[in-house]
């Protein structure tokens, strides 16, 4: 329109005008914003998430992998502790009578677990910590949802990591903590 205004020779002196700025140009930054990246002189869609999926590798092998921080030694212990804390935090947030009763049940379960079989617990921790396949990636304790139900009879309230190891086959559990993910994978782990 402004070109038409110029074309018809309309007096534009003293009028508010804005020059088309550099930011108005469609250029590399536009494509980058769209999620395309230049790889070997070619523009390809390469968003971080897609990149990970396409390459099929785990986050832990990725040099840029700043989303998930791996832990080396006290894996199961840390996971267990985090589970307990998540559970503990969540129980404090509940207010309604039903939720309150549920939280009480959950609290008693976790107390049983923590205090009930100390010897077995410590043994399990040692096994888990030294086992090569035990892999725990943990970032933060920001709780935004219930953990996935445990395959055992205890249901959602079961936060006993070692308890599920009695079941056959590999055990995989994911506890989603909002944007941060707590991934617990215990592959081909047998409790002798």
């Amino acid at each position: 329109m402004s070109k038409l205004i110029d074309h018809f020779g309309i007096d534009t002196s003293n009028e508010r005008n804005e020059t088309i700025k550099v930011v108005s140009e469609i250029d590399n930054s536009t494509l980058l914003k769209m999620g395309f990246h230049k790889v070997d002189d070619c523009w390809v869609f390469l968003k971080s998430k897609t990149h990970r999926e396409e390459h099929g590798g785990s986050n832990l092998n990725n040099d840029e992998g700043d989303d998930v921080v791996p832990m080396e030694d006290d894996t199961a212990q840390a996971a267990e502790q985090s589970c307990y804390e998540v559970h503990h935090t969540s129980s404090h947030r509940m207010e309604s009578p039903i939720d309150h009763a549920r939280s009480q049940r959950m609290r008693s379960h976790s107390t049983e677990f923590r205090g009930g079989s100390q010897a077995q617990q410590s043994m399990n921790e040692d096994v888990a910590a030294t086992h090569h396949n035990a892999l725990v990636a943990y970032q933060a304790l920001e709780y935004r949802g219930e953990p996935n139900p445990c395959p055992c009879l205890r249901g959602k309230s079961c936060l006993d990591l070692m308890h599920c190891q009695r079941s056959k086959g590999p055990i995989s559990r994911k506890l989603k903590l909002g944007s941060n993910i707590l991934i617990i994978k215990l592959k081909e782990f047998r409790f002798s």
Partner: protein, 221 residues
């Protein structure tokens, strides 16, 4: 709330009247001034985007470049210069259709935008298919869902909306140019509208479309 908004409008009118600017823009046309105050004065004019064809060449985006070059849109897409937001609003306030041409008045000067004007200013001609929303004469084979599926990077994805973010590079870039330059709408550019999809289809398949007609229709909306 209502009384406060009325007060605001009165103040606004007083403000404009006291400046004497509107009289200059509308050549003392009272109807135009009233329409401007109540309809157009608050509308924001988008600063248009600019596409350099040399950039397409540098970045080896040959498919996009050849598709756009086929329509001789180079002059239109590479337009640079000053933008006069107030005068553009005045232009749109007075805009009417006279036969096949757009007519408007700015500062009392009649602007009759004929095909020759379009050709000289934007380098586009009144020639080709007159397509638009609900009008696919000449491209009966066009199916928006099917075509969108053809353009997305991952065809197995479910389609809830015609989201531009799922398109492959060439389609994405052309959709962006359609949404920001050819028929800019100033909002919700992330989603392809039917009109945008039709134009994308035509551009990608090198079907001649009447850009003058399409732009005129868009301006009159």
């Amino acid at each position: 709330m209502a009384s406060s908004s009325r007060k605001k409008k009165k103040n606004q009118e007083k403000h404009y009247n006291s400046q004497g600017v509107l009289e200059n823009w509308f050549a003392e046309d009272e109807e135009g001034i009233t329409a401007y105050i109540h309809e157009m004065s608050r509308k924001k004019v988008n600063i248009p985007k600019v596409l350099e064809f040399s950039w397409l060449e540098t970045e080896k985006l040959a498919e996009t470049r050849s598709a756009l070059k086929h329509y001789k849109l180079k002059q239109f897409l590479e337009m640079i210069g000053n933008v006069y937001p107030d005068l553009v609003n005045v232009f749109y306030t007075n805009l009417t259709l006279d036969g096949k041409n757009l007519v408007s008045y700015v500062k009392g000067i009649k602007m009759k935008v004929t095909n020759d004007v379009w050709n000289s200013v934007a380098g586009i001609k009144y020639y080709g298919l007159k397509v638009g929303k609900g009008n696919t004469n000449g491209i009966q084979e066009f199916n928006k869902i099917q075509y969108y599926r053809n353009c997305v990077r991952n065809p197995s994805l479910g389609i809830n909306r015609f989201h531009a973010g799922n398109l492959n590079l060439t389609s994405r870039l052309i959709a962006y140019i359609i949404a920001w330059q050819l028929i800019p709408r100033g909002f919700n550019n992330a989603v392809l509208h039917e009109e945008g999809l039709i134009l994308l289809y035509c551009i990608m398949n090198l079907i001649k479309v009447n850009w003058v007609y399409i732009i005129m229709e868009h301006m009159l909306k």
